[in-house]
């Protein structure tokens, strides 16, 4: 998928001006995922302790990733499946196409897969004459609208129901144009009726994977709709797209992470469907795929191991970080310009496509730390955003005005006497000018702030001078 992350500022402004998006974001933050997460976490006293165990499981696996990948591959093959390794998106797409062509596939259904988005699979297959049908309701909606997902687990969360109804009316031409589509239930029922024949006709089903189990060679998908299951049990061939870091050693390890996943993601005790798939159908089985292929994608992850962004590979893609991010809640997911939005996207995107392509993203954060505090595997997202900011600065990617401003600030900050004097002068001056009103409607060089809100005026003294004065007074006593 083509990255537009460099346009973050412009896209963010467009997001702020988009009323439908703002309404959808309000719904999410005010009565959606965060409050549901809070309720369900309160019902599980062990939740905090589980976060620590989840972190340990992922760290252990990553430290021995080569071993677990080889064990996993061995067990997939032993259960009758096939493993394909892909270094790049191009290699992964080619493998999918080869499997589809070998199967003589005319129609392909897809469960939700972020890896498919990452490798641009839909566009690639369409150019090759195969149109995959997205079956997750959110993914189906954005496929009709030719949009990328705006959220990890709720791809159409940027839309209000009227927009979904419009998309359905223009796509489902054979239905009565005057049918009522005002309620989410009606929209859901219509998508169900439209997609059911597609499920039944598909030759190949493509799903992602939430976890891969090394011990058994199994893949696990977690859904609420059941689309991922119809996608994999009805067609003749099941293709699983997964990245390397989805590995866990055993079912026991997966179970711990599953206890964290739904609670952190949607605020459910457990998602409706957690499905463990191992190989193709067994002799005597009446249904299930005849062939089972797993494509393991690297795309830069092996290089992340052991480095500053190693911890990002623990991510289990729950979306809690974006659900709790004030920046995401203001501008929505599309502003981030690539596949992964929110705080996890601001860290992962530069790792996968390069900081040159994603330079603004690490700055799309107030570093308030909410993301880290809700992360089920305790990824230090703010720390890693700071690492990216340092690299961005070192590579001279930030706009010149920022860079010179930071240079001036650094020069002053390295000279404490000068720094204290200047801050004291500035506090007193601004305090005096701010006067009775106590705030500024506009300030030179700070229009970005005062354009949308007032700037509070300082009290009149700097912290440093107050501190020095009080220390002196305390010393006299």
């Amino acid at each position: 998928m083509e990255a537009k992350s460099r346009d973050f500022s412009a896209s963010a402004r467009a997001g702020l001006a988009n009323d439908n998006l703002q309404q959808a974001l309000d719904i999410m933050t005010q009565r959606g995922f965060p409050s549901r997460r809070l309720e369900v976490v309160a019902r599980l006293p062990e939740f905090e302790a589980l976060r620590e165990v989840g972190r340990e499981i992922k760290d252990h696996t990553l430290a021995h990733l080569d071993f677990y990948l080889e064990l996993y591959e061995h067990n997939v093959v032993a259960s009758g499946g096939e493993v394909h390794w892909a270094r790049t998106p191009e290699e992964a797409c080619e493998i999918v196409l080869t499997v589809c062509r070998t199967a003589g596939a005319r129609s392909v259904t897809k469960g939700k897969s972020m890896i498919a988005e990452e490798i641009g699979l839909n566009d690639f297959l369409e150019k090759s004459g195969i149109t995959p049908v997205e079956t997750d309701l959110g993914e189906y909606i954005i496929q009709l609208r030719h949009e990328p997902p705006s959220h990890l687990i709720a791809p159409a969360m940027h839309l209000v129901k009227e927009q979904v109804a419009d998309a359905f009316r223009s796509a489902h031409r054979t239905l009565d144009p005057n049918r009522p589509l005002a309620e989410p239930q009606a929209l859901c029922d219509e998508a169900r009726a439209i997609l059911r024949p597609q499920f039944l006709a598909a030759d190949v089903g493509i799903t992602g994977a939430n976890f891969l189990i090394a011990e058994t060679g199994s893949s696990i998908i977690v859904t609420n709709e059941g689309n991922g299951d119809l996608t994999q049990i009805l067609p003749r061939v099941h293709i699983v797209l997964a990245s390397l870091e989805k590995l866990v050693p055993t079912f026991e390890d997966a179970a711990t992470l599953l206890r964290l996943l739904a609670r952190s993601a949607t605020g459910q005790e457990f998602s409706s469907y957690t499905t463990v798939s191992t190989g193709p159908r067994r002799p005597g089985d009446l249904d299930g795929p005849e062939a089972y292929h797993v494509i393991l994608l690297d795309n830069g992850r092996a290089a992340m191991l052991g480095g500053e962004f190693h911890d990002m590979l623990r991510c289990i893609r729950c979306g809690a970080c974006m659900n709790h991010c004030p920046v995401y809640a203001a501008v929505g997911g599309h502003a981030y310009g690539w596949v992964y939005p929110g705080p996890m996207g601001a860290v992962l995107t530069p790792s996968l496509i390069g900081i040159e392509e994603a330079a603004p993203l690490p700055n799309a954060s107030t570093l308030c730390g909410r993301c880290e505090s809700v992360c089920p595997v305790k990824i230090p997202l703010p720390k890693m955003l700071r690492h990216w900011r340092e690299r961005e600065f070192a590579k001279k990617l930030a706009p010149r005005i920022w860079r010179s401003g930071l240079s001036v600030w650094a020069w002053v900050a390295l000279r404490p006497a000068l720094y204290h004097m200047l801050t004291e002068v500035a506090s007193r001056t601004l305090g005096w000018v701010g006067g009775r009103r106590g705030r500024f409607r506009n300030l030179p060089f700070a229009a970005g702030w005062t354009g949308v809100r007032d700037m509070p005026a300082p009290e009149g003294r700097s912290f440093h001078s107050l501190w020095a004065e009080r220390s002196k007074a305390a010393g006299r006593r």
Partner: protein, 235 residues
């Protein structure tokens, strides 16, 4: 493709600053896998006796919009199924897993109930399946595929009825998975080769919140999930 495989494994080892694992470490990792060591298990279900576990299973399943009927024996199943279908205004017709346990049920008590055995087809509106285990922790059904238990029954029909003998209610996911491993042991084969193609953990009916975060039921899987908990352990 071995080129890609070798390159990826080499890149991983380069990043981790080492070569392939030494035999001692590899043996320790294999032992870790074989031990099936459990991580932290929530007390919620683990600490309960059996009757309390069944009660918790029922309460958790009902909390996610499954409906539950508790029956004293499998002799009550035909009546319960017929009554449920009538109450939901559904035709007295269903597709049933070709499972010998379900054939023990005295279906002749309800001769008007039309039953087909096999996998689900597009037109089937109601299915009836056994279950491998039921997990109290979150009201979750654990269904394993096999010749007698096709997976399509769990997803294609609009209404899914599941028979849960009370003695199959366990506390946690790990308890359920251990039962699967035990089954492999009884047959004297390694667990891996006997794992069913598909193990479904099902918690309530199909749902979606993809439009304005409003939860609606019946996205692609069953709209209704009805659970019959049978006390005497039959079927």
């Amino acid at each position: 493709m071995t080129a890609a495989r070798d390159a990826i494994l080499a890149a991983i080892r380069r990043s981790l600053n080492r070569g392939p694992l030494d035999p001692a470490t590899a043996a320790a990792l294999r032992a870790r896998v074989a031990a099936h060591r459990r991580n932290l298990i929530p007390m919620r279900a683990a600490a309960l006796d059996h009757p309390a576990r069944v009660n918790l299973f029922v309460a958790m399943a009902e909390a996610v919009q499954a409906t539950v009927a508790r029956l004293s024996s499998i002799d009550a199943v035909p009546e319960a199924v017929a009554a449920y279908l009538a109450a939901e205004n559904l035709p007295a017709e269903l597709v049933m897993a070709p499972d010998p346990g379900l054939d023990q049920i005295p279906w002749e008590m309800r001769p008007l109930l039309r039953i087909r055995r096999g996998r689900a087809e597009a037109a089937d509106a109601v299915s009836l399946t056994p279950c491998f285990a039921a997990i109290a922790e979150t009201g979750t059904l654990m269904l394993a595929s096999g010749a007698a238990t096709p997976t399509s029954l769990n997803f294609l029909p609009d209404t899914h009825i599941v028979l849960v003998p009370a003695d199959r209610v366990v506390g946690t996911y790990e308890d359920g998975w251990d039962r699967l491993r035990d089954l492999a042991g009884e047959c004297g084969e390694v667990g891996r080769q006997l794992l069913p193609r598909t193990v479904n953990f099902i918690t309530g009916p199909s749902r979606t919140g993809d439009i304005e975060q409003r939860i609606v039921l019946g996205a692609h899987g069953p709209r209704r999930l009805h659970i019959l908990v049978v006390e005497d352990g039959g079927a």
